[in-house]
């Protein structure tokens, strides 16, 4: 058996162990070790991605060992195109976050090394949650991930950090417990139909009444909708993003929240195809509400971090809509969107974080005229903003357009309403751009320093990835497409053939 995935998960843990053995005083060494480990993990992931057979729709790098045999629980991991892409995103973001947030840990309650131990543990769990092919294993990672994030927000954040951390944790736990009820339901059903198992493939073959299926589906879906977050389960996100350090926010919005949308694909759709069809209209509606609502709230924010959080709510609306549109464009687009959103949010949060740490305030109106004072930083922020509003030529455009086109072929009304989101996106990006970067340089901003070399090195790969994938998304799409098409065809859907309006 190929144990690459396990080794990949062991790498960050190894880094964390080395860190734990370090003395508390040597903060710089801790940072270097953390950076080294995350880079190693990223390289390892890239090499796995190169070895991935793109046209093979079966899971690859499969591993399976009995874990709790009496419950039919296995330690089972494997990759398809979707999970590979998400793991790639996670491991690429991790070193960037470490490098970008080099000094983030210094205002924390605990030492620097603890910060990086938490980050590395989180990275390991994120890999695990995307790679798991056993529902129980997935759940374990899903819940256990909360703990490092909780301490990252509560211990190293700013402002009302502990309240935000608690809110985040309670929301997530609540969703997780609902999912636990559903998992128990699946477990019992599988026991009645040929032996207890948690294997995703086997569970998708279960027979169940439509009521049962609907209830179990809801258990999963609400958990994922909280995590994603979908309106109206979103109110934890702005608070969490407001309080967390920028790096943590990147991991929170960029990686952790993707577990929600990933879970929808991997579990809601595959395990409960019938219930999915039942609930699709509602979910599409919620997604569209999220898109528009998130955009409007973003426009109304005065705090830059909250603004970014609300833009993400809007973006997650797009992702969810793409998933449930049940077309190959929507589905591939949604997965690509997850990847792209990771980087565009990373860019926004990291640059915003640098701005905030220099200015000592996160209120948008405290900035002003930064373009003349700190041109590189201003450019970076502007670029991140353009990526967030899905400017053609940048990666998010491809995914957003695919989602819209994919949705339009099946749910034209939803797609049309969602498209209004792109105008609102222009507003919620350009308003802060104008207030923070343009206009006369406001008092207090005259002496801000521009990005340092370290910060430039950190943001450069993000910029390159966003640009590159904007013009040439094929490498990712070729990995995603087979998996996405597979999911849809399993559900019994195929892309709608071109149909004329109003007949001919």
């Amino acid at each position: 058996m190929n144990i690459s995935l396990t080794l990949l998960m062991a790498l960050p843990l190894l880094g964390a162990a080395v860190l734990a053995a370090l003395p508390k005083t040597n903060a710089v060494l801790a940072k270097q070790i953390a950076l080294g480990s995350t880079i190693l993990v990223a390289l390892a992931t890239i090499s796995m991605a190169i070895g991935f057979e793109r046209d093979n729709i079966n899971l690859q790098y499969v591993e399976s060992y009995p874990w709790i045999p009496s419950f039919g629980i296995n330690y089972a991991v494997g990759l398809d195109g979707i999970s590979l892409v998400l793991i790639l995103m996670t491991t690429l973001l991790a070193p960037i976050v470490v490098l970008a947030g080099w000094n983030e840990s210094q205002n924390g309650r605990w030492s620097t090394k603890t910060f990086y131990i938490l980050i590395l543990v989180l990275e390991m769990m994120a890999i695990g949650v995307f790679a798991a092919t056993d529902v129980f294993l997935f759940y374990v990672f899903f819940e256990a991930m909360l703990v490092p994030v909780y301490f990252l927000i509560g211990g190293y954040g700013t402002g009302e950090r502990s309240a935000a951390a608690v809110k985040f944790l309670l929301y997530s736990l609540f969703g997780g417990l609902l999912m636990l009820a559903s998992i128990i339901g699946l477990y019992v059903l599988s026991g009645a139909q040929g032996g207890h198992t948690f294997d995703t493939q086997a569970l998708s073959q279960l027979q169940m009444s439509s009521t049962t299926q609907n209830l179990l589906f809801l258990g999963f879906f609400i958990a994922f909708a909280i995590k994603a977050p979908l309106w109206p389960f979103h109110t934890w996100l702005p608070d969490a993003a407001d309080s967390a350090t920028p790096g943590t926010s990147v991991l929170l919005l960029g990686v952790l929240d993707k577990v929600g949308t990933f879970g929808m694909i991997r579990y809601c759709l595959t395990l409960f195809p019938e219930a999915t069809k039942t609930f699709t209209p509602i979910i599409i509606t919620l997604s569209v509400i999220s898109i528009i609502y998130g955009a409007f709230l973003a426009i109304g924010q005065k705090d830059i971090k909250r603004l970014i959080a609300f833009t993400s709510i809007s973006h997650f609306g797009f992702i969810t809509m793409g998933i449930f549109a049940m077309t190959s464009q929507g589905h591939s687009g949604a997965t690509l969107y997850m990847f792209n959103h990771g980087f565009s949010t990373a860019a926004l949060f990291l640059v915003a974080g640098w701005m905030i740490s220099r200015r000592g305030s996160s209120t948008i109106s405290d900035f002003g005229g930064l373009q003349r004072v700190t041109p590189v930083m201003a450019w970076a922020f502007f670029f991140a903003g353009m990526s967030s509003l899905a400017l053609p030529g940048l990666s998010s455009f491809v995914s957003e357009f695919l989602v819209l086109v994919g949705t339009f072929t099946r749910y034209p009304v939803a797609a049309v309403v969602a498209t209004f989101g792109i105008v609102l996106a222009a507003l919620y990006i350009l308003i802060p751009v104008q207030r923070a970067l343009h206009g006369p340089t406001t008092a207090g901003n005259e002496n801000l320093s521009d990005l340092t070399l370290r910060e430039r090195v950190a943001i450069a790969p993000v910029v390159v990835i966003i640009l590159f994938l904007g013009f040439y998304p094929s490498p990712l799409l070729k990995v995603i497409n087979p998996a996405a098409t597979h999911v849809i065809s399993q559900m019994g859907f195929s892309d709608p053939a071109p149909t004329q309006l109003g007949g001919k």
Binding site: Y171, P232, T235, Y293, F296, L297, I299, G300, Q301, T327, S328, Q329, S332, G333, G369, Q371, P375, V376, W379, M386, P392, G393, F397, F401, L402, L404, V405, G406, F408, T409, P412, A415, T419, I422, V423, L427, L430, I431, Q434, L437, H438, G439, P440, T441, F471, Y472, P473, S474, L477, N481, A484, D495, A497, P498, T499, Q500, L501, G502, G503, K504
Partner: protein, 629 residues
Amino acid sequence: MQINNGLVYLIALPLAGAIILLLAGRLADKWGHIFATLMSASSFAVGLLQLSQMLARPAEERAVEQKLFEWISVGSFQVDAGLLLDQLSICFVLLITGVGTLIHIYSISYMSHDKDRRRFFAYLNLFIAAMLLLVLGNSFLNLYVGWEGVGLASYLLIGFWNQKPAYATASKKAFIMNRVGDMGLSFAIMIAFASLGTVSFSGVKEAVPQASTASLTAIGIMLLVAAVGKSAQFPLQAWLGDAMAGPTPVSALIHAATMVTAGVYLITRSNFIFDAAPTAQLLVVIVGAITLLFGAIIGTAKDDIKKALAASTMSQIGYMILGAGLGPVGYAFAIMHLITHGFFKAGMFLGAGSVMHGMDDEVNMRKYGNLRKFMPITFVTFGLGYLAILGVPPFAGFYSKDMIIETAFNAGGIKGILLGSAALLGAGLTAFYMTRVMILTFTGTPRWDEKADPHESPILMWLPMVILAIGSVTSGFLLSRGDALVHWLEPLFAEHGEHEELLKPIVVTSLALLMVAIGVAIAFLKYSRSEVSRTAPEDVSILTKIVRRDLLQDDFNEALFMRPGQALTSTLVKTDEIVIDGAVRGIGSAALSSAGALRASQTGFVRSYAALILIGAVALVAAIWVVTK
């Protein structure tokens, strides 16, 4: 179709210029402007080379394609990054790179005092690249990339002096109103894919015969929305006036000669859709007619020279849209007017820039006067452009505008009469406000501010003006000689049958010239005979006030979109906090208070605990009795 792997250089050269200048930062301050100009010029050279190759081929084989790479491919949604150079796009390529290069040259001098000149040239190069992508893309989606790319460049250039809040706001406004239009383009592409299964020009063209009219009409209307946004047509015209916040060369290049004409390009490029969707086509002409009047009316009351020219641009593009909406017979005339307009309007804008250069960046024409003495070259070039826009024979505008008016009359029935009359009226109004500009600026008595020091601009500035002026004089004649342009473009458009002529061409021409003469005369009477005050008179009719407020376009947008939008936003922000988050917090505090209440049940008295056990026992027995009954 033939393959030509050289097309990419058209875009790559200016794009490389932009990237290098942006990345190099201050290092490139010394040579950036020259480098950018060279990039633009090389692109022009490549364009000329392509033209010469194209001329060498027979008419049906002139179009060439280049597939760069597979861009987006998911299921049946297959879009390659591909370029298409045909007779239509070569016109644009040459216009963009040619006028673009001239404006680069002009800007070297115009922006020489600005310490961010390098950045300005980077943006200019970026614009050229994006605009070329717009006209070279071989599918609607590729076009879309260029479409938003020019929007971005326009945003950056309008807001080039964004340290002034009003300028920053203007750039934001332009971008957002453009996005509204872009939304239309998105819809068009989505509908095209959903109903025709393809988004490439060639694919859509092939699919049109099988498509339902409803689909095509929907696509056409959405394309029109896109065109309306980008070309500042009614009702999305409000941004163009504010866009004059950008440096004047920007106004000349982007907001006169090229970007704003992208809507015309889009409609012409999609001729096969509009030809099959009469309703959409009707909307196109309506929009064109309204805008040409709208812009002209606004132009009559503008004191800001650049805004007056902007209003004129709006109006002239209205003519082009009108022409493009008139079907196969009108496309070529729309393009012709587009090209001639590119020359004379760019020339006039550069002239305006030259004036401002000498007048300490003053834009209020009421503070000009008698400048012909001090700026002879500017006066002459501007004057040639003036004659061209009026449509005085044999200047360029005469050929192109006259054709559009004529075709409008020939559209048939009431429609033809209405459109033709609107176009005629527009010609008169144009004559009025342009004459007003000429009089206020170049004649009369000086009304200058103290700081003004009018002088002729340096050669780098007047040379492009001269070249453009030559174009303003000759282009119309050259393009229409033997219907050169019409025949050149013929392979792209559907055959058009002979129309019955409502009015003979000579009648139309005479009417048009008459209108022009009336307009000029009124302007002379009004402004030349009496002293012009340095401030705009306040005791004017309500109608004038409305026209001065741009026909209330901003008030309208504010009342209808901005304020309700802001109200909605703040309501939603409160709702989120009070209702949604409030519900969650409410559950939390309800749990806490109920916990407090339950906690009180623990009184500390052992007898009450015993009583609880006793009650529990009784309840249990009772429950058992009920359950087993």
